[in-house]
């Protein structure tokens, strides 16, 4: 599992530029599914036919591939880049960050103008230094519109904890890839590796309309409340998978949630309930597909979401796969 996650966090996937992630996932899932295809927005669909035959009901499983990034909006005469955020990033957390441009692999450092208090920092105060000597030199490596993601890669802390800049949500992608290998379900599974979640779940919206499944489930990460003076959230790292009850986009109907809870009990997987009012997910967009899609979610608890160093517990990831597989296995 650790190796799978590491493999998935290497490619860069700014919202709207997810192709490198998609290629890796395509190769990984191909041997385990009946069909793989993509669409105009950059979603990747992997279909595994249900055991009940052509009459099988359909479940859509969504894990977003994209990660927050910086988009180049201007290059000045000295070759410094001005940037705007793609997705939810706070300017004050970025000073000194190392970034890498997805298209060319050029690296850079985020700097800030002098004289602005950290709490007042906005994106207009930031620039990216790619070591260019001039405007022309910078243009050799970066164009307006290029996107840069964090360049921290994958790390381990102790035996069970992993850290990375894109664990949100390559961990969800890894869970989904692994579940496709292991699962036998009565339902036809349409796994959607979705594009553009960070900029408003645009990929999930069209996937829900296109597939119009009988049910949908999102796989994502969600912040915990177990660090010193953290936000008062109920999830804890290592406490087991979180079953979604509420996030910023969605209230999960109790009857949808209870099916997942029952699956966790039957499979003897410890679980927690996620109530996270400031966390966005693909769930809200999927729910609104056509005549409405009953939608739930399973999340991997994560520390430091929204920073370049997200941390998850490997046991939580394993147990999330076990829970998802058990849930899918009981669908008839």
């Amino acid at each position: 599992m650790k190796e799978l996650i590491r493999q998935l966090t290497i490619p860069s996937g700014p919202s709207g530029y997810e192709a490198p992630v998609k290629e890796v996932i395509h190769t990984l899932v191909q041997p385990h599914v009946d069909e793989v295809y993509d669409d105009a927005l950059g979603n990747l669909y992997a279909v595994k036919q249900g055991a009940s035959g052509p009459a099988a009901k359909t479940i859509l499983l969504a894990a977003h591939m994209d990660e927050p990034a910086l988009s180049v909006i201007d290059i000045d005469d000295q070759g410094f880049l001005r940037v705007a955020p793609l997705g939810p990033l706070r300017a004050s957390t970025l000073v000194g960050a190392r970034v890498v441009f997805a298209r060319t692999g050029r690296r850079g450092i985020v700097g800030a103008e002098h004289g602005v208090a950290q709490k007042d920092l906005e994106f207009s105060h930031l620039f990216v230094d790619i070591g260019a000597a001039s405007l022309d030199d910078a243009r050799e490596h970066v164009r307006i519109g290029d996107a840069a993601t964090f360049a921290y890669g994958f790390d381990e802390v102790g035996a069970d904890l992993i850290v990375g800049h894109a664990l949100d949500n390559r961990v969800g992608c890894a869970v989904l890839v692994e579940a496709l290998k292991r699962t036998h379900s009565g339902y036809t599974i349409v796994a959607v590796f979705s594009a553009q979640q960070e900029v408003g779940s645009r990929g999930a919206r069209v996937a829900g309309q296109r597939i119009h499944p009988d049910a949908a489930l999102v796989l994502d990460v969600s912040p915990v409340g177990d660090t010193p003076k953290s936000e008062r959230l109920a999830l804890t790292l290592g406490g087991g998978p979180g079953i979604k009850a509420l996030d910023a986009t969605m209230v999960v109907a109790p009857k949808v949630r209870d099916i997942i809870v029952d699956a966790a009990r039957l499979a003897d997987v410890p679980y927690q309930i996620e109530v996270s009012p400031r966390t966005a997910s693909d769930a809200g967009a999927l729910f609104l597909g056509r005549e409405g899609i009953p939608t739930g979610g399973i999340v991997v608890p994560a520390r430091y979401v929204g920073t370049p160093s997200q941390m998850v517990h490997l046991r939580d990831v394993e147990q999330t796969v076990t829970l998802l597989t058990a849930y899918l296995g009981q669908l008839q």
């Binding site: 109920a234 079953i243 509420l246 209230v251 109907a253 109790p254 109530v275 809200g284 597909g289």
Partner: protein, 355 residues
């Protein structure tokens, strides 16, 4: 046959959080049993009551909606000592939550109260500020172990409040927003049984309005009606609020006008009200109406949509106050409006140039 005022009181005292609207929906189904030709519930909980019109097809297809959910809280964290911290599900004003009685929907229904630090122990600065939601907690007066046994993060919490009959036919209670609209649907269907009408009517009790008008959007996609009327509440006159922002309690249902409302539906509603001697008030809304009407209007190729509102004081508190007569009049207006519809009117809705 149901008594409309008792229905409204029963509906307001029932609990139905966004995502869990089964109780008010069941009361609605029970009330209209025998009035609707078919009754269905969809996969996300919307309730569809269908009444066939008479005459040849094609007949006008009309959707009328009222949301069945109410603003609620959810258990977000169980603190040391068994005190519950909450997240909101729909927009409460935290100033009005302090001191409320609530029901926590755990393994069983548990009564509790909303507490916070008392004024004696607050700093002068704190005393002059309202308590934010994060600092409120719910006290179930049980040992922490019992709380953990009976309550889980994710359980809904609703306000506990008996609906009160005030003088002058006014009612005060929780969830008048929008059980008043749900009652209007039932009154309308009952009134339609006394009238001849050619339209096929789909009355929909929608879900999850308070968290983004979700059920109405998917219901409209499912039905793709020729036209739709949403029923909700609007602000009633209140001391300290400018008169152009509010409507009179007891002055009749409010018919909205503005870019989200089809002008021909507005005109037909006000014409019908005039001819039938039903009092109405008019509200102009330049931007969003913040009701089911907003998403319905832009489903698929677009749906001509109107909005009828019941004036209500103290919105999103536990003492939402309205005049029952406005609810009754809204039901009558809606039924007369439906009875006035024919295919030539429907065809005219896509034509803005010709009158």
């Amino acid at each position: 046959m149901f008594n409309a005022k008792e229905l409204l009181i029963g509906l307001t005292e029932a609990t139905g959080s966004p995502g869990d609207e089964t109780k008010p929906a069941a009361l609605l189904r029970e009330a209209v049993n025998g009035l609707a030709d078919t009754i269905e519930t969809d996969s996300i909980g919307n309730t569809f009551l269908y009444c066939a019109g008479e005459g040849n097809t094609p007949r006008p297809r009309v959707m009328i909606t009222a949301h069945t959910d109410e603003i609620s809280l959810m258990v977000a964290h169980i603190d040391k000592g068994g005190f519950l911290r909450v997240a909101e599900v729909g927009g409460f004003d935290p100033r009005t939550l302090l001191g409320q009685e609530v029901i926590v929907h755990g393994k069983r229904k548990l009564p509790g109260v909303v507490g916070s630090k008392p004024p004696h122990l607050s700093s002068p600065e704190e005393r002059n500020k309202s308590v934010p939601l994060q600092e409120l907690f719910i006290d179930l007066a049980m040992p922490e172990a019992s709380v953990r046994e009976l309550v889980n993060v994710g359980n809904f919490i609703t306000i506990s409040r008996r609906t009160m009959e005030l003088s002058g036919g006014r009612l005060a209670g929780k969830a008048m927003d929008n059980r008043a609209g749900v009652t209007t649907l039932a009154i309308c269907l009952s009134e339609l049984r006394k009238l001849r009408f050619s339209a096929d009517v789909y009355a929909v009790g929608t879900v999850q309005e308070e968290i983004g008008c979700k059920g109405a959007q998917t219901a409209a996609f499912r039905l793709l009606p020729d036209l739709a009327v949403a029923i909700d509440v609007c602000h009633g006159e209140t001391p300290g609020v400018a008169s152009d922002l509010v409507q009179k309690l007891g002055g009749g249902p409010v018919v909205s006008f503005g870019p989200r409302i089809h002008p021909k539906l507005f005109k037909r509603l006000t014409d019908v009200a005039r001819d039938a001697n039903i009092p109405v008030q008019i509200e102009v809304t330049q931007g969003p109406t913040w009701t089911d009407a907003d998403p319905i209007q832009i489903v698929q190729a677009g749906i001509p949509t109107a909005l009828i509102s019941i004036p209500l004081r103290y919105m999103h508190t536990s003492v939402e106050t309205l005049a029952f007569e406005d609810v009754r009049h809204a039901g009558l207006l809606l039924a007369r409006f439906i009875a006035s519809l024919d295919m030539s009117f429907v065809e005219g809705l896509t034509c803005y140039l010709k009158n």
